[in-house]
């Protein structure tokens, strides 16, 4: 600390020296009047005051004085004046209670901390304290400033703060953490690995607030770690619409790059596909190319991206529209590209700078795909009020769009441009006419004639440009245009612009063979006026003379010698030089040596015709919409867009287990199914439900005290099941397909097993719900039960009752839609809750079971802040869902609970104890084992329960294993008409017997 303060003193001394200079420059005329008033408007006169009083003001006790001082300091900073010597005085106020003062101190701190590192450290503890503040906005702002102080010493502190903030409950703080990642990375790139970990964590975040910022951090820190995106790809696509607009731009650009590495090309010519394997899989629903002959099937994820970005074309933010457009350009099948046209054309109404960028991109696009923009050709007509660079770009696009059908319209338009006052633009127009002429052979002559007319223009640039363009055009097909050359010769007398005269002379010389009679005459005229011509014309005259001498020496020998003599004594040394050179070259004498033999080949060599093409021809090597594209050179940090892979990488990397959402909110208890399908589901559920008593037993084994009561309930159940057994015995079950379960029998089943289930229930968990909530919303969420999880294989095939011994162990064959009531709306004071097992692997832990809760509010009041209270007594581990607001819409905001209604003051809090009654089968996840293994395992255990029931069908085997204790449960059902034998093998006796009973009940009950 001592060292630091010593430093600060020395800084002070330096600083005050500077301040003196500063103050002198400021011409301090007004003496300082320190008053509470004199606020913001007088700032610029205020900074004339000496910085010394600023220090006094900062050290005073009055808030208003401090504030006034800070305002003046900010004024200095804004003007680029140095105010660093006030650092010690300013930094003292970092903990001020006045928000504005504090903010201004932050501004100052961020500006000068880099220069005054040691002193800046004094402020750190304030921020560290604020990082723990209960208010999320204060936490966020502390992290923001802390990370903006570019002082390498605090890197570890920043790292810690970022890590902590990344797990903050508030999405706003997490967003700030994402921003801080980039700051830390630029301060210390060695932290990369740690930061990537944080990025990985934040990428999983479901909040729309965080998404944009973390992707930005990703792009900055580790754009090559494409593997981090896989699992989040679908989430990002789905969140995209709700992300704030700046985030959208960043995400779209990132997803464009991602998609280019992960999907195969939708542009057919280079699509490589294994048709056989893909066809059947996608046949049902995936969109296909219109052309059926060679089907390309788009990856559904690829389609998802295109579909979810399309609405953003309607964004008011031009950057978003451009981002989507480039995404479509780089990713969509060619025939879908047209959707972006209108939006891009719309952007042309925007500011000049926006137009400039958009036109550049359209220019690149229009080279490859004229059709896209042709219907909007008129939008590219130039207005006299456009800036020159806008005009030139529009011209470029018009030229690109020209084809046989519209060329006459375009040429007419170009003709009016030629008359413009903006000469640079006229020159560009002439170039454009030239390009039209070469591209569309029908109009070459028309264009040439038009250009020839322009030769008589008064403006030098126009003429020069026309001549140059004519020259280029003639070079491509000189033989057909001897009449134009003749025409130009005729015009020659009237043309005064030297550049044009020179160009015509060059043409004469170059194509003197096409105009053998005129060329010598032109030379004759030139010989007359040679001395009064401009230098450039003289040079070309010498050139012409030389060429004519070689091709037609009989007529022009004397003329040439005359001109060469004139040139020899010209005032300009260039001309004298050229004359000497030409003379040596063409007139053979003893000194000239070998060169003159080749004179003809040198002078009359065929010259390559210049190629007239768009300046945007090769711009498509850059991703559209990027800075590199605009500048046509690779800028720092440009990320190359990769080519499509020949074969798509594994698609399954993007699969994330998703809990299916309940369709519609059901009020009251779910009805038993009415359709046959529904019956199946019911019966199946029961099937699984019957085996679910496993769980109770397994849990009962965990606590001895309760196992007894379970035994009891077991007994009661046994008796009831035997009862039902006898009832059902008489029924013959012929139709195996209709294992219907009548509602009443179901109810009975539940009532029979009530005793047992109650035990389970108390054992399982209880949910306390604290109510208050907005009207009519459905929330679905997951909560999970721990340790209840007994997994059993249940590869049912409801129709045939054959066990499919497949190798897939992961997903259940069938997920019923039925949900059970958790809380009735009468009991719940308007809130009703239903639950349903989704049979999806739980994402929070593999020993948990996912449960989907559907909450609905049937009262007329808003309910808010629904949550599971922490009081669940039995030590079950429940993964809580967060406060309910986030469940309301697809927007995940944890704090805000209510978007569409006014928040009613809710005066009371209600708590409801509810319990979930898990049908045991719901707690199972199928596993797979081979038949041999099954038999082998079966023999290992002696525990057997065997009871014949009357039932028909064949043999089925089901295998499963408890996750908690890891023991196998094997169920074999041997079906011998009219009897059936059920065998259950497991380590756990109680479980075995319960399972057996339940299976039996269900099977018998489910007769037709």
């Amino acid at each position: 600390v001592l060292g630091m303060s010593a430093n600060s003193v020395s800084y002070n001394e330096q600083g005050s020296g500077e301040s003196g200079v500063d103050a002198a420059q400021e011409n301090s005329s007004i003496p300082a009047s320190i008053s509470a008033g004199g606020a913001a408007f007088s700032l610029f006169s205020a900074d004339c005051k000496k910085n010394e009083d600023l220090k006094e003001m900062l050290e005073s006790n009055k808030e208003s004085l401090k504030l006034e001082a800070m305002k003046r300091i900010v004024g200095l900073i804004a003007k680029g004046k140095n105010a660093s010597e006030l650092f010690p005085a300013v930094v003292k106020n970092v903990a001020s209670k006045n928000i504005e003062l504090k903010k201004l101190v932050y501004v100052y701190l961020v500006r000068y901390a880099e220069e005054q590192q040691d002193l800046a450290l004094l402020s750190i503890s304030t921020f560290q304290r604020a990082l723990k503040d209960p208010n999320q906005l204060i936490r966020a702002s502390a992290l923001r400033v802390l990370s903006s102080i570019r002082v390498p010493i605090i890197v570890p502190i920043m790292m810690l703060a970022i890590k902590e903030a990344a797990t903050d409950l508030s999405p706003y703080v997490r967003k700030t953490a994402a921003h801080a990642i980039q700051k830390l990375y630029s301060l210390d790139p060695d932290q990369k690995e740690h930061l990537i970990e944080v990025i990985e964590k934040l990428l999983k975040d479901k909040s729309t607030l965080v998404a944009g910022s973390v992707v930005m951090a990703f792009e900055e820190v580790c754009p090559d770690r494409i593997d981090l995106i896989h699992k989040n790809y679908r989430k990002l696509c789905n969140l995209l619409v709700d992300v704030e607009e700046w985030g959208q731009v960043v995400i779209i650009h990132m997803l464009t790059r991602y998609a280019r590495t992960q999907f195969v090309s939708p542009w057919r010519e280079d699509a490589v596909f294994d048709e056989n394997s893909e066809k059947t899989f996608y046949d049902s629903e995936e969109e296909r190319r219109v052309d059926q002959s060679k089907p390309y099937i788009m990856d559904p994820d690829h389609r998802l991206l295109l579909r979810n970005t399309k609405p953003l074309l309607q964004s008011r933010n031009t950057a978003v529209v451009m981002a989507v457009s480039q995404l479509y350009w780089h990713l969509s099948p060619k025939h879908e590209l047209s959707v972006i046209t209108k939006s891009l054309v719309r952007l042309l109404r925007s500011h000049r700078e926006v137009q400039y960028i958009v036109l550049q991109n359209i220019a690149t696009m229009s080279i490859q795909r004229k059709g896209m923009f042709e219907p909007f050709m008129k939008s590219f007509y130039v207005r006299s009020t456009d800036a020159t660079h806008i005009k030139t770009l529009k011209l470029e696009i018009l030229t690109n769009l020209a084809n046989e059908a519209n060329i006459s319209t375009i040429l007419r338009e170009l003709q009016t441009y030629v008359k413009s006052q903006d000469k640079a633009f006229v020159a560009a127009t002439i170039q454009a006419i030239g390009r039209c002429a070469t591209n569309i052979s029908e109009v070459t002559d028309t264009c040439l004639n038009g250009l020839v007319l322009l030769l008589s223009n008064r403006d030098e640039t126009v003429v020069a440009e026309s001549v140059v363009v004519i020259k280029k055009l003639l070079q491509t097909q000189p033989s057909q245009h001897s009449d134009i050359i003749k025409h130009m010769a005729k015009l020659f007398d009237n043309i005064t612009v030297p550049m044009a005269r020179a160009s015509i002379l060059w043409l004469m010389g170059e194509y003197c063979e096409h105009v053998p009679k005129i060329a010598p005459d032109v030379l004759r005229k030139m010989a007359k006026t040679f001395t009064s011509e401009e230098d450039i014309v003289k040079l070309q005259t010498v050139n012409l003379a030389a060429k004519l001498y070689l091709s037609n020496s009989k007529q022009t020998k004397l003329l040439t010698q005359y001109i060469l003599n004139l040139g020899k004594y010209d005032q300009n040394y260039d001309i004298r030089d050229r004359t000497r050179f030409i003379r040596q070259l063409i007139v053979p004498n003893e000194k000239s040596g070998a060169l003159s033999r080749y004179a003809r080949r040198i002078l009359m060599a065929p010259k390559p015709a210049p190629v007239l093409q768009s300046a945007f021809k090769d711009r498509d090597r850059f991703q559209l919409g990027t800075l590199s594209h605009t500048l046509n050179s690779q800028s720092n940090g440009y990320l190359e867009l990769s080519d499509w892979p020949a074969v798509a990488p594994d698609q399954s990397v993007r699969i994330v287990e998703v809990v299916k959402e309940a369709g519609a909110p059901l009020l009251g208890k779910s009805k038993p199914g009415k359709s046959a399908e529904k019956f199946y589901s019911d019966s199946e559920e029961e099937e699984e439900g019957s085996s679910s008593e496993d769980s109770s037993s397994s849990s009962s084994e965990e606590s001895e005290s309760e196992s007894e009561s379970e035994e009891n309930s077991d007994d009661s159940n046994k008796s009831s099941s035997s009862e039902s057994d006898s009832e059902k015995k008489k029924k013959t079950l012929k139709n195996k397909k209709l294992q219907q379960q009548k509602p009443d029998s179901k109810d009975r089943y539940w009532s029979h097993s009530k005793a047992l289930l109650l035990i389970i229930i108390t054992k399982l968990f209880s949910i306390h719900i604290v109510l208050s909530f907005s009207n009519q919303f459905v929330a679905s969420c997951r909560c999970s039960l721990l340790r209840l999880c007994v997994f059993l294989a249940c590869q049912f095939d409801a129709v045939s009752w054959h066990v499919r011994v497949s190798l897939q162990a992961s997903f259940p064959v069938f997920v019923p839609e039925t949900s059970h009531e958790l809380l009735h709306r009468m009991t719940g004071k308007g809130l009703s809750a239903q639950y349903r097992f989704t049979r999806q692997p739980c994402i929070y832990g593999n020993s948990m079971v996912s449960l989907q809760l559907t909450l609905s509010n049937s009262s007329d009041q808003a309910l808010e802040n629904i949550h599971i209270s922490e009081k669940s007594s039995t030590g079950q581990n429940i993964h809580h869902f967060n406060a309910i607001g986030e469940l309301h819409t697809t927007n995940h905001s944890e704090i805000d609970t209510n978007m569409s209604t006014v928040q009613h003051e809710h005066t009371k809090e209600d708590e409801f104890s509810v319990s979930i009654q898990p049908a045991v089968g719901e707690l199972l996840v199928p596993i797979t084992m081979t038949e041999a293994d099954f038999t082998k395992e079966k023999l290992t255990w002696c525990q057997k329960a065997n009871q014949p029931i009357h039932f028909c069908v064949c043999i089925s085997r089901f295998a499963g294993k408890t996750v908690g204790s890891g023991c196998l449960v094997l169920v074999s059902v041997a079906l011998k008409d009219p009897d059936a034998g059920i065998t259950i093998n497991t380590e756990k006796t109680v479980m075995a017997s319960m399972l057996l009973r339940q299976v039996k009940i269900t099977l018998t009950n489910s007769g037709p």
Partner: protein, 418 residues
């Protein structure tokens, strides 16, 4: 992303700088000044200027260049759009965006810039959120602040930023609940010498001023939504409902905002509400030129054409113009050669005309170009495309708001070639 921002006035002075990362020396602007010198007109400065280590992206508004310094690849539109958003915000806060206004409010400007970007990445650009963070200065508040020493910075922390409707602040209260919508259409047209239309399109916007208590949920429907060919929305509009039902459904921001901008399909014939008869000629050898211009209404659906302003950039050879307007006043600037004629309202009975002669530089040859005529006008109570609002409903609140809809047609980029 955005490293620094420099504000440069028309005379080339840097009058404000702000850095979000390490400080970039203001000498980087020398490259900009070079480009400025090369450009003949202020508008001709290229928006993106590469320098050896940085890229300068600038926008020009209100005769101020906003120059952003960029160090690495970033979509240029991202920066341009952001800079325009900054200008819009300044305008929103100070009424005008001039050098004087910015200098007078330098602290507020700095506070705004600080909130709008974090580390160069846009943070809060929504006007409603910003106004919660930093209160716009008003004369009353400045006076109060000087007396009480209170501040412009909002005392309470903004919650809007965290909400699912970030564009609307909570706890809005009004005694008079009103919602006004202005349907403003602009005609962009190019008319050729003979009076026939080369290109014409209609661009429209629906601007709203909504002052409603609480969290109202509004729906606005049109009689003829099919007219709208291409639309872009304020983020508050629910896109799905528009797709399905062609209804605008939204929770509005508080105050003024642009709800919708649209484009009327170019297939529809556009009614051109004014015509121009002109005769502008120069004779070879003579130092005089004739100038005759007559305006008349056409296809105005019985509405009056008002606030007509004609301007034209005359050829460089014109020294002076001696004209006689039948109504209104005209000015001719001999330096910039800009002729402007403030016509006012067009009376169909007595068409306004401007006649007279132009004196040319003696000895100079006749200008080979004819000037283009730019026309501005307004027609009240008419949307030229025929777009009509059907109804406006409010849900979610109990009170009855006052609703108002106004139509207007304006000339956009309306040019007549002569």
């Amino acid at each position: 992303m955005i490293h620094s921002l420099f504000l440069i006035n028309a005379s080339g002075d840097i009058f404000l700088e702000k850095h979000w990362k390490s400080v970039v020396s203001r000498s980087v602007c020398d490259y900009f000044f070079e480009a400025l010198e090369r450009a003949t007109e202020p508008e001709n400065v290229p928006p993106v200027i590469p320098t050896p280590h940085h890229f300068l992206i600038n926008v020009l508004r209100h005769r101020i260049y906003f120059v952003a310094v960029i160090q690495s690849e970033v979509p240029p539109l991202f920066v341009i759009e952001f800079l325009h958003r900054v200008v819009d915000t300044f305008q929103d806060y100070f009424g005008v965006c001039t050098e004087a206004a910015i200098k007078d409010n330098v602290v507020v400007v700095y506070e705004l810039l600080e909130e709008m970007l974090d580390n160069g990445f846009p943070l809060a650009t929504e006007s409603n959120i910003l106004k919660e963070l930093i209160k716009p200065p008003t004369i009353l508040r400045t006076v109060v602040n000087t007396i009480t020493g209170s501040t412009n910075v909002g005392e309470q922390l903004p919650t809007g930023q965290l909400s699912v409707v970030p564009w609307r602040r909570t706890g809005v209260k009004y005694t008079n609940n009103e919602a006004y919508f202005d349907v403003v259409e602009e005609i962009d047209a190019i008319i050729d010498k003979s009076g026939s239309t080369i290109t014409a399109e209609i661009q429209g916007v629906v601007d709203a001023c909504v002052k409603l208590t609480g969290m109202p949920d509004l729906t606005l429907s049109f009689m003829n939504p099919r007219l709208l060919d291409d639309v872009s929305f304020h983020p508050c509009v629910r896109f799905k409902r528009w797709e399905a039902e062609r209804i605008l459904s939204f929770i509005p921001p508080d105050g003024n905002f642009r709800l919708l901008s649209y484009h009327v399909s170019s297939q529809n014939l556009v009614a051109i509400p004014v015509y121009v008869k002109h005769n502008i000629s120069f004779r070879e050898g003579s130092s005089q030129g004739r100038f005759e211009l007559t305006l008349g209404p056409k296809q105005t659906m019985g509405k009056a054409v008002e606030s007509v302003l004609v301007s034209s950039q005359l050829p460089r050879g014109v020294l002076n113009a001696n004209l006689n307007p039948s109504q209104g006043t005209y000015t001719f600037d001999p330096v910039t050669k800009l002729l402007s004629w403030d016509v006012g309202k067009i009376n169909p009975q007595k068409l306004p005309s401007l006649k007279g002669s132009m004196s040319l530089q003696t000895g100079a040859s006749k200008p080979d170009e004819n000037p283009t005529i730019n026309i501005q006008f307004k027609i009240q109570q008419l949307a030229i495309s025929g777009l009509k609002v059907n109804r406006l409903d409010m849900y979610g609140e109990k009170y009855k708001p006052f609703k108002g809809i106004k139509y207007m047609t304006k000339a956009g980029k309306f040019q007549v070639r002569t």
